[in-house]
């Protein structure tokens, strides 16, 4: 059974600059994916609810102004609500010395400025199929 990748493109925390998330949403759409797009400032609980209701494979969080610092909280909330299979990617500004913390917390990929649309689409697609495999495993258990 195949159906388009479902991706939630969102922003958490306080920053409102959404140029990047809009452009990425357009690229993913043009690659044939179904993108659920939200305005900035989503609360963590809201992102979890959205991911659940929309049954997304991948969540893309755009962070330009240190909002990535609360991404570990988001990952924890996703796991607590049965969404451990959902893959999470971060795009935007993550300083070099804070990247490892995010990866350790369970972030699957970090896209810095300069990442091309091709790279992003390819990675998200791969992660979406990974998420589906993980979910099937969860369900069979």
């Amino acid at each position: 059974m195949t159906y388009p990748e479902r991706v939630l493109v969102t922003k958490i925390g306080f920053d409102g600059h959404d140029r990047g998330s809009r452009v990425v949403a357009a690229y993913l759409r043009d690659a044939g994916m179904e993108v659920i797009y939200t305005p900035p400032w989503q609360e963590i609980t809201a992102v979890v609810n959205l991911a659940m209701q929309e049954d997304v494979d991948v969540i893309g969080v755009s962070s330009l102004a240190t909002d990535h610092l609360i991404i570990p909280d988001l990952l924890q909330a996703l796991r607590a609500d049965g969404l451990a299979h959902v893959r999470l990617v971060v795009g935007g500004i993550v300083p070099q010395n804070e990247r490892q913390d995010l990866l350790d917390a369970g972030v699957s990929a970090i896209f810095n400025p300069g990442a091309t649309s091709g790279e992003i689409v390819h990675r998200v697609r791969t992660l979406a199929s990974e998420a589906r495999v993980l979910r099937d495993q969860e369900e069979t258990v």
Binding site: G13, F14, D15, G16, H17, D18, R19, R22, V23, A26, Y37, P39, P40, W41, A65, T66, D67, L69, I70, D73, I93, P95, Q96, N97, E98, N112, P113, G114, T116, S117
Partner: protein
Amino acid sequence: MSDPASLSQDSNLARDIERWQALYDSEIGEDRTVVNRSGIAVRPLYTPDDWSEGRYAEDLGMPGEAPYTRGIYATMHRGRTWTQRQLIGLGTPEDYNQRVRILLQQGASAISLLPCNSGFRGIDCDESPLPLLGTCGTVINTVEHMEAALEGVEIDKISTAMNDPTPFTLFAFLLGVAKRLGIPLDRITGTANQSDYISHYVANHMFYRLSQPGARRVFVDHVKFCREQTPNWNPVSVVGQHMQQAGATPAETMGLTLSTAIQYAEDCIRAGMDADHVLRRFTYFFDISISFFEEVAKFRAGRRIWARIARDRLGAKDPRSWRFKFHGQTSGVDLTQQQPLNNVARVTAQAIAGIFGGLQSMHTDGFDEALACPTEESARIAVATQNILREEAHLCDVIDPLGGSYYVETLTNEMEEKILAVIETIDAAGGMYAAVDQGIVQKMIGRSALDYQNRIESGQEKVVGVNCYQLEEAEAEVATYRPNRAAMEAQVKAFRTFKAERDQGQIRQVIGDLARAANGRENVYERVVAAAHAGATHGEIIACLRRELGFGHPQMVA
């Protein structure tokens, strides 16, 4: 053009151009197509065939004279250099105070204050996730916080700019500090940056706080309040920066900014204010991108168009009201995370464009500003960049040094045409407020943002270290600013105590008054100021106005 002398001159010129063109074609091989960000084709050479001083008086004029193409003051930077106004904000009020004192010692001639993102979101520090507090701005929720932030700063002598969106709580706190120090309010000078609520709905949702009709109401009341009580404060700063950062081209940015200014002017005039009174205190805030000549032309054309709009369309009679005063910030969009020290070169080029564009005040970005709040070192280099350009490169010696350049004058004319077309589109939609409501502006900007990204991806637009000249080796680590977590925790704790120990009855009273003003015809901003001075917090004031005037959401336009 009809006298024989000029005729023969013209035909000589035509012959010369033809000869050069033949030579050029034979030497260049295959020529590149160059189109600037605003979509104007850029040719390899400009001559008197493109521009000659035919309409000098009408289109250029002298500096300090309408239409101000060459600058709004007769002396421009030679008489008074631009104001060095570094936008800063970080950590606790005490952290800010320490940083601002360093900048003042180094020659900054004015200060500005960027509040914490939690404040932009309209909430106090006690409601915010701790890791996000103070990372991108200073936590200022009360008059007490403002007092600590400005301790030792002579606020009656130095101009302050506040990144202070509607309902202008920071300004209310600043006035509270002035009151405590016994400073008369007419001694307070500076600018309400981010008073431009329309740009927040369109482009920078950062400062989005009230519903659009609510923001419109508070905007007009705030202008009225300032006209009456703080006559030396600029209550309006129209922020083209937001449009350009969100992806609008430089020409679109200028067109949208001027359309926004028209909307604000008309709203104030409709509310019974005098055009000259209002317009004299209008200011503008722009991004300076690295598209060098395009930026210079953007500012020159914008100045000229605004002078004509203010005079002919808005009916301002005083030439001082026609002046297009603007603050320029070197654009963070052009900075890269890769090879961050390269950003010093970028900021330098952007700053020169701003200076040649005739700005009145400037912020130069720290090289790490694409990564985080500038560190002390990067903030120092940013200020030094301005000092070097002024003192060593002698950029202040001649007024409008690019004026009369065939290229720059032609480009100024071409940008003017593009800008006027944008204004026409917005007029046709019924003005900026209506155009935003209909999603026209958001679509325009969204399209341009995607176009620009595609230009980068296709290599048409080159970014060093990103899509060319990339480095193989690992990136050098740059220290990024993070506030002291323990100090921030202490600040939140102190804030909670402050709130608990206030006279709760009085707080209820002033918030009640604010709500009544919002629902009635009273000046609502007067009540904001009264509430702030009585000890109401930033978050409490905004929560009240959101309840009464509505908290909409930014429009999503696909």
